[in-house]
Symmetry: D2
Subunit: 298 residues, 4 copies
């Protein structure tokens, strides 16, 4: 089996190593020359351009795109559409919006090129080995790429999910659940921090990971984080987001699905990005207006 890998960032580089561990031949490309050099150390061949990458693979080809969602993915797939032949396969392993994946699938299919959207979970560690993949695309073509996922995924850790779009949709929902779980875990530790008891956060997380109802990989990661910095005092509580939690809520709105916990988690993220908030100013001003309650001056 050989495969083309486009994008050698945190995820792509780990995936290449994962594939090489399973004797998959990889031709890799990245805009960054240093990354192209590094990848050869893992036993992959580097291509100097998308064109070279395509040329280095014998048709019918399988090409994995692992670049940031949005414009980079759009441009990469557009370029591939010009370079590839019918019956070639494009896998988008990034965090693309599922509607984009549907659109791209339709466009490529019109050219006879096959498209799969492969939502990828498990973080960098999962990309490196035992990853988790949810894959949408043509059912009758999927068997061609199943061995690839069989190799790089954890046992039982990949699923063919239905037509194109269904893989990225499922990954989006996965991340929505993740937002809710992470927020709940965070809230719990904040209650502990203010409880007046003197809990050892790392010890608590470790104990919870051994037999409790809330044992989970996220709690293991919490254990790791607290082991290094017991009160997380080195970092600020700013919760950035890359979009999939937001998409989940937008989709819930479209479908009229009540998602109060995931929405609350999303709103908490936005609140964390603000040092101060207009909402609070308005409420403080109103309290002052009707009740003479003191406001905090700037």
């Amino acid at each position: 089996m050989d495969i083309g890998m486009i994008g050698l960032g945190k995820m792509g580089m780990n995936l290449v190593q994962n594939m090489r561990d399973h004797d998959i031949d990889v031709v890799a490309y990245d805009l960054n020359a240093a990354a192209r050099t590094t990848v050869t150390e893992y036993g992959a061949r580097a291509a100097a351009s998308l064109k070279d990458l395509v040329a280095a693979l014998a048709p019918p080809r399988t090409i994995w795109v692992m670049v940031p969602a949005g414009t980079p993915t759009e441009q990469t797939i557009s370029t591939l559409a010009e370079l590839l032949n019918p019956d070639d396969i494009v896998i988008d392993g990034g965090n693309s919006y599922y509607q984009d994946s549907r659109r791209r699938a339709a466009a490529l299919t019109a050219q006879g090129i096959h498209f799969f959207d492969a939502g990828t979970s498990g973080g960098m560690a999962g990309a490196r080995q035992n990853g988790n993949f949810m894959i949408g695309g043509e059912a009758d073509v999927f068997p061609r790429i199943a061995p690839l996922f069989q190799a790089i995924a954890e046992t039982d850790g990949y699923l063919y999910t239905g037509p194109a779009g269904s893989g990225h949709f499922l990954k989006m929902v996965h991340n929505g659940i993740e937002y809710g779980m992470m927020q709940a875990i965070g809230e719990g530790f904040e209650v502990l921090a203010k409880s007046g008891y003197d809990y050892d956060n790392a010890a608590v997380a470790k104990m919870w990971n051994h037999g409790s109802v809330i044992r989970s990989w996220l709690m293991e990661l919490a254990q790791n984080a607290f082991s290094t910095d017991p009160e997380l005092s080195a970092i600020k509580g700013v919760m950035h987001s890359s979009g999939e939690g937001a998409w989940t809520v937008e989709e819930a709105i479209r479908l009229h699905v009540p998602t109060p916990a995931i929405s609350a988690a999303l709103m908490a993220r936005y609140r964390s990005e603000e040092p101060d908030a207009m909402t609070g100013k308005v409420v403080a001003a109103l309290r002052n207006q009707f009740g003479g309650h003191a406001v905090d001056p700037q």
Copy 2:
């Protein structure tokens, strides 16, 4: 009609003036000597102590307690219980917890003293004139104090609500609704502030107060606040709270009533009190653990 007033803070002093406007004789007491002097300028008599205040009123007496909820109210009513006679009336006009009012009513009633819990709304302006009152206590005794409320309340602005506790319970829920309304208004103006449009907040609030569905006294107060400080840039968005929103949510929990919006408003208040939050640190640390996402250093 004569009445004893205990507590000459923001609310009590305004209530005295309101009563004096309606030719109600007032004997007033406050721990603060300056307040006792001031109140005489409004035509009230000052008493030097609770004992003096009780002595200055002919039985059966009506005494209005307007001191902070909790210990001050508890101590005041306990002292009154020792000084008063059967058939005297105690009105708690403060923001007491309704269960405390039930307990106090039971204790006073055992002595033949009547107790009314009078939730008071309308802010300082309402205390000064045209106030709003929700009053629980003995139905057959209420007619004795109805003329008082007839005088100081806005027309139709008072209500006998049922047995003792029902007045403060209703005031508690009133404040819960207020929390939700204020938070919604605040959120709306924050969306405007970040919209990219250049709205004039005061003009918007003024226009909304003239014919829109959301016209309300709170929006009028927003108009006032924005008129003085168009972006509320002088104040911080810290939303303090004095407890009744919290009680509303606690009561909702007890009754299994879903109150997602009021709860969200309450949680937003607590979040505004924190410059940084442990929840955010945990989520940021987890994102870093699984995805290598950058954290914001302290």
Copy 3:
């Protein structure tokens, strides 16, 4: 002043009467023939088609479109674009999505036609008299239509809000605030209903509307509703929605504005549309799995 009115539904028909009260000549059109007849009883002229409506007005024309948002508005404005002349004015008084209004403004402006998006609040009663309007469009053209709003709006009840789109954006946020306010009011009355006290909902709402902090038009409407049906026992608690609350949350997401209360209100609406919910099934099943807690069978 004369104006063309397209759409004679609940809002449009009331607006025509409002305009007629102020001696504004109206040429009106609706797909429904009966509505075209009715409108003549209010002193408007009926047009048999959009073409006839345009022909019946002398240029430069002012045409108010008051049809449902989405396809009906799109089609109406597209047709008008073919029929109108440069310097004519189109006012969209409906609940269009502000991005649609921006797009339509750009398209019409390219033809020299002026476009205003006039968010309309105050309900049917406001359409009938003393309405509330937030109007975006070209600043230098607005004076041509200001007298119209001066006539039909409540005093101080209209505002020029900025470029095209800003009117509908503001109306969207208005509705978002409305969602939060309504949900908070509803939650409060549900706490009352389950409190064990025997509150008279209509009396409570009436009292709150006379001097309390939460006095508002929405509370007046609650008073009306409870006066007719004291426990609202004739209706189901299904909260439909027409989209603007959803747009507010979507916009908040786009702008990273935390709107927890408005979001909670929106989610409560969706939940109310479900007789049963998959979320609940999953949680019930999980509780059963780990703790043997009983589930409710179908």
Copy 4:
């Protein structure tokens, strides 16, 4: 090692078997005679009364109370207080409110009896083997009972958490996190159910449990539940609760910790208990009042 076990319900009976597997002698009591018979089949001795149970153990005794929180626990521990000797140990393994545990610890300590609050997680399966325990009480007495937990807990699955109350406090927070996680998982599957894609819920849960970021025991339980009933069509989505999520939110309120996701999860549970809701009726009535929007009749 020998131990007294009071309460042979779902949890207690499993704990007895767990202890017996580790050669711990157990004297057991339950109000229910059949349970007392059953327990002997697992190699425990049955006591006919609390008095007999105490008599059957040599001092200093260790007695585990595993009865429902509230009155049953209160009565059991009160009775034990009369029967036990100084230096005996009482372990409350139930879901008691942590403030009750603090109070009981103080009362027993005054008699020289030691009290430990042992929050127990892991469900029935964990009680049976490899349980999870968070234990508060006197630090210098804990070594006496550590071997017991070493035996019945999963490796690293128990933690001494600090003074009495800290164990049940931590278990309370554990359950709060659990509420948030479960709600997020439920919401995710509801989005899937309405997505228009045809996901196999059991297959999705299984795949997510093999390498994804959200892999967790709760997701494994979801996999189990969906394997039996793919759409959970046999059960209603009513989410009952036994109190600890509610306590977590109440504690968060007391500490001013924002817990929006856990609160949202709690409110969703209460909403699920209602076939219809007053909140919805109010909002529907208001929409009808201002906009003429149709209401759903009963």
